[in-house]
Symmetry: C2
Subunit: 364 residues, 2 copies
């Protein structure tokens, strides 16, 4: 991809921005979006920022039939000095290319894509809400647009970035949730697409979620698709347990998505010299640890919630209560530190923050 | 769904039709398409036939992110008396609703949808090619269109039917293909979406297909995702083996798609009093049967090819040659009978054929 310029077509009228306290997740979008096309043999081309607008796509396009697509999710935060900043965006773009590889979608230039995201966020900086816990959600995604019903990789794609101002995940303080362990449905299996961020993984997860939502469970906990014993993820988050002083998270096995928050939590725990292990962990081990009084904390990690403490797990009708249904010490410390770094309130010892507007930004 | 009328908006100019001998699969579409919308709480509404045209969809629509979609594939054939006819279309619509159930998509009225398909095919009857082996491919599909990035079932959908004239699958006579047994990638697993016709299953299959295509293999043969021993499907077809006089096909286990052709083949074999069994069958059993000289035939079944004989299977570097690379007797008899019924050349003992224009059709 030799594309180096981004055409900007400004919208003529700006939408009204929502109030900070009325923000939801993913329902309102900003005034502009980034679009880039891929055709064979031209490659990625025609990078542009245009007014946010509907896509016009042939009904035979592959995205509507064979689900060849990938996406990412990250956020822009407003720092106390009024700067827009991103959290480890290069990790999201690396993962986007890993997902591309699995889904037979052509690679993107990660550096260029990061520049495009920064340019778009800078243009839409007024859309970043300022209240505590709010942010501007960034959704890069790639869809297959060749008008052809054959089952084969598309020869046309669109790479698009849209932005959505989102409210605080925890409006009334960080609170543990109830999780149902899923025995019937499986999210992903080794050899499948579980470690890629692709639409099909999410479509297949809807049914299990729907089945438990009525009983007051926030999410399901997914077990491995082979033995139905080992813990994989919780909802669309990675999951951690503290057992007898040691923090454990399922080891990446090909069917688990490698979260950027997961990776950051592992680094923080090591930095704090808290014992942490990536390994297989079964529901039976968890049940036994709880019985022995050794299961001290459980929490999910993801971009939306950052840290989501788990107060109860229900497995085959048995309830496992964790830390008296309260947020654990480590979950709290991780949440405070992660958000502190993300919002520029705390020191950034790992160089995780990427300012949207570099002081010596000469590219654009 | 109380919808009972279909508005028709005719196109002003008709496209030029391709010559029968230049037809490919799924690249050319007819002049019109059927569209129906779902919104909550209105349900399915606004059923209409309109000129074939691009869809205009918000970039935040769920189909672009979370792959919530289902589809079907069937064909319209021209009979010797010039009638357009369908092959067991009610089976496809039943399966569409089964897929809807798994994907949390609202049910459609199957009878109404069949009427809509017949009305559209009747309108586009001139598009059904007349040469041997050609047909009009019918693609009903449902996509989720709610503009929302939350991972939850969409509250808006479009049900669309598009039509594509397709050429003969076997241009130079029915010919056995080489198949690679897939050990690394998995198509689906019990508890997943394997028995639903949804985009994600096809997106996840692309990589394995791409890996073997360069070595002259037409498709991969998928093994089960748990033990990686048992045979599931071949490419996007069901698969049958004849061992020592008995025909065997993998039993439906939750991860295998129930093909309409598979179902019809089972009925035909029973009608002919040829021993046929649905059961688990492993690659090891197949290898041993071949070694013992008992593996007599192998073939895939699907709407596109009807019957696709397999002349060679390659598993862990070992080649299994079947019936000297020639089309087997049963495969040939099934192909001739199935296509004979589909094109109205043979008697239809099972009432599989549905005429597009009923003699006493008063609904439209």
């Amino acid at each position: 991809m030799e594309e180096r310029t981004i055409q900007v077509n400004h919208c003529s009228t700006r939408k009204e921005k929502p109030k900070s306290d009325q923000l939801q997740f993913g329902r309102i979008f900003t005034d502009h979006m980034f679009v880039m096309d891929f055709t064979d043999p031209l490659g990625w081309h025609d990078a542009r920022i245009v007014p946010y607008q509907p896509l016009t796509i042939d009904p035979s396009a592959m995205i509507f039939h064979y689900g060849q697509s990938v996406f990412e999710g990250l956020k822009a935060y407003l720092s106390p000095d009024g700067d827009a900043q991103l959290f480890r965006p290069e990790k999201n773009l690396q993962r986007l290319n890993q997902s591309n590889e699995r889904l037979c979608i052509p690679q993107i230039n990660e550096e260029f894509a990061l520049g495009a995201i920064k340019k778009l966020v800078e243009l839409e900086k007024d859309w970043i809400p300022g209240s505590e816990g709010t942010s501007l959600y960034i959704r890069p995604f790639i869809i297959s647009t060749e008008p052809y019903l054959g089952v084969a990789p598309s020869r046309r794609y669109k790479f698009i970035v849209i932005l959505s101002p989102v409210g605080a995940y925890y409006k009334e303080g960080i609170n543990p949730v109830k999780i149902a362990v899923e025995n019937k449905y499986v999210r992903a299996v080794s050899g499948g697409t579980g470690e890629a961020k692709t639409g099909g993984n999410y479509a297949s997860s809807l049914k299990a979620q729907e089945m438990v939502a009525g009983s007051g469970y926030a999410q399901v906990l997914w077990l491995d698709g082979v033995e139905r014993k080992y813990i994989e993820e919780v909802g669309s988050m990675n999951v951690f347990f503290k057992i007898n002083g040691e923090v454990i998270t399922p080891v990446l096995n090909g069917s688990i998505l490698e979260g950027v928050t997961r990776n950051s939590v592992l680094q923080l725990l090591k930095h704090w010299e808290i014992p942490v292990t990536e390994r297989k962990i079964s529901m039976e081990e968890l049940r036994q640890a709880n019985k022995d009084g050794l299961l001290e904390e459980a929490f999910g990690t993801g971009t939306a919630a950052v840290i989501s403490p788990i107060g109860q797990l229900t497995w085959n009708g048995q309830h496992i209560y964790i830390n008296d249904g309260k947020t654990g010490e480590i979950a709290k410390r991780l949440y405070d530190t992660m958000t502190g770094i993300q919002y520029g309130m705390l020191e950034d010892p790992f160089n995780w923050i990427e300012k949207v507007k570099e002081k010596s930004n000469s590219v654009f």
